[in-house]
Amino acid sequence: MTTSTNGASGFQQRTIISLVQDRPGVLARISGLFRRRGFNIASLAVGRSERPGLSRMTFVVEGPPHVVRHVAAQLDRLVEVVEVQDITDKNIVWRELALIKVAATSEHRGEILELASIFRVNVIDIGAKTLTMEVTGGRNKINSLIELLRRFGIKEVIRTGRVATLRGALIEGQEEGAHTIAESVEHFYTPTAGDSGSV
């Protein structure tokens, strides 16, 4: 299995991307379909797309795979949903962004900046007692940084949730998001809950 499974309940994290019309209420319609099945939206990222009037959404939801697949089909039925795809088993790239505000007295500032440099993250604000950094990557990278910063005193963590897209085809004529011919799905690297995201 290439996706994380919580054995007992059969719940899986699934990544769904969709293109939706930018109209009021569209988010409520979508979240309503997940709410109806009683499962959680682990993360949700929305923003305007390259096409005027349309937004892209990436959700990570937790539920039994066949139910998630059915909800995706029901999402597609919504008038304002132009496209929807469960891309969990596809070949995808994804990122997550977090802003971390950490207590940074002059005593510790040097050490924190060193960590920032090792993690290749940007420091975007420095105050008298705090420092805010911007970290992009997969969940593991962000979680590791948070763990390392914890002893300095984390003031706030703001995470965007996952944004994802299908990988471009490596071979002309192949579909986007296909796994390469040489490597089977089994061996290919697909995202899991704690993945680094930087394949």
Partner: protein
Amino acid sequence: MVAKTLTGGQIVCEALLNEGVDVVFGLPGGAILPFYGELSKYPQLRHVLVRHEQGGAHAADGYSRSTGKVGVVCATSGPGATNLITGLATAMMDSAPVVAITGQVGRAAIGTDAFQETDITGATLPVTKHNYLVMRAQDIGPTIHEAFHIARTGRPGPVLIDIPKDVFQETAEYDSERDSQINLPGYRVPSTAEEEEVEEAVDLINAAERPVILAGHGVIISRAFDELRELAEKAEIPVVTTLLGISGFPEDHRLFVGFPGMHGLAYASLALEEADLIVAIGSRFDDRIVGDPNRFATKAKKIHIDIDPAEINKSLVVDAPVVGDVKAVLGQINPKVVKTDHTDWVARVEHLKAEHPSLKIRETDELLGQHVIKALSDVTKGDAIICTGVGQHQMWAAQHYRFTNANSWFSSGGLGTMGYEVPSAIGAQLGNPDRLVWSICGDGGFQMTSMELATAVENNLPVKYAILNNNHLGMITQWQGLFYEGDYQAETYSANPDFVKLAEAYGMKGIRVTSQEQLESAIKEANEHDGPVIVDFVIEKVDNVYPMIPAGQSIQELIEESL
């Protein structure tokens, strides 16, 4: 057409006319009064004043199912709008095209808990196919045209349009040509299916030895009566109709089997069980048919023809999904099906009918619900429009009325709404003034919407109401008897009104029937009366509907009546 400057209320009326609307069911209130102020200037739009908004929604539903046109209901903000919800949910579950127009409090007051304010677009999200809050008069025209398009195309369903009071009063330009352009990039209406899917289905049909067609509501919605018959006859396939597929196939046809499932005919369920192929056409493998999905028709491969891709593999994993409009898909499949006989299999199904006589009524001098339906069917020659509520009377009606006319059965199959029978019959009669409409009611459901009798009288609608009156919530009594160790609770109606007097109080004719001997003459008398009638059929107090397959079970747990 030249653009006209109109008030929002006028735009609603003009757009409704352009959509071919001639009847609007409704009940006014403060927030929608500006619309009513304009409605009076459009006599082509007949307004039918209902007594409760739920009745308006069911009437619009009955009108739409019986005519194929979109039914329209309007209501005011707050309680008017919330009263629509049961009607909208009923239409949603049974894919009936209804457009609801609700007044909303003025724009400035929205979100302030103003008098009679409800967030009705929020409240109706899960029970509508789509809904709108229109915040500018200029958007009313395009919204109404889009709403009608969504309501009637694809898998039909209810659409609600919420319009604030001051938007009705604001002026804007309306141009019917411009405003009826549909631009919905996310809304696809399937018609024909992929050739590959058709081929796979055809191969299974041609290879089958014991095929059964399971014909659902989609056959009726798509008006695919001729195509269904052609397929059945060409490949000699017995036809099982679902509860809402009833009247989609002539019941006097030699290949007609009946409806299966929880209270379906035993031989229909057994035909599905013994089949090696089920061709489900516009049916969603409802849980009342499937029961336990792991034990349903395990010997059969399954073809699933449906317009809604979200129905495929929902309840059951199928072998050959075919996504498309039923009429169009059968048009693709039929020419490729090889003309063949299934003589032995058809004989086997006939044998099942003889072995399991589910329609046989037990010998008794008492008046049973089945006697009433059988007599109605005989006297009307299966030619009436039948509306029902939900419960024992509904199941007896589904079993014993032998429909000879297509699209004549209107019942709340999905939501199971008691009370649907009274107003839906009003809508069906309005849409079919030349047909005989019988509403078959239980005494429970009848009293949920009986205030609409006034609507029937006021509009001279000669609906015949047959109350199967047993002073009980019959199905509740049956379940408490079978599954709750006879612990009877809240199942008896000990203070029913005198329904004959009630009829008279409304200015209707009232007839009481207490014995089998009176059935025929009473039904004839009702048919001949030029106006609405209540016939109070006083039936056996406690009786069960058989056959029965308990919820979530399979044909192995079939309970049949010992005769």
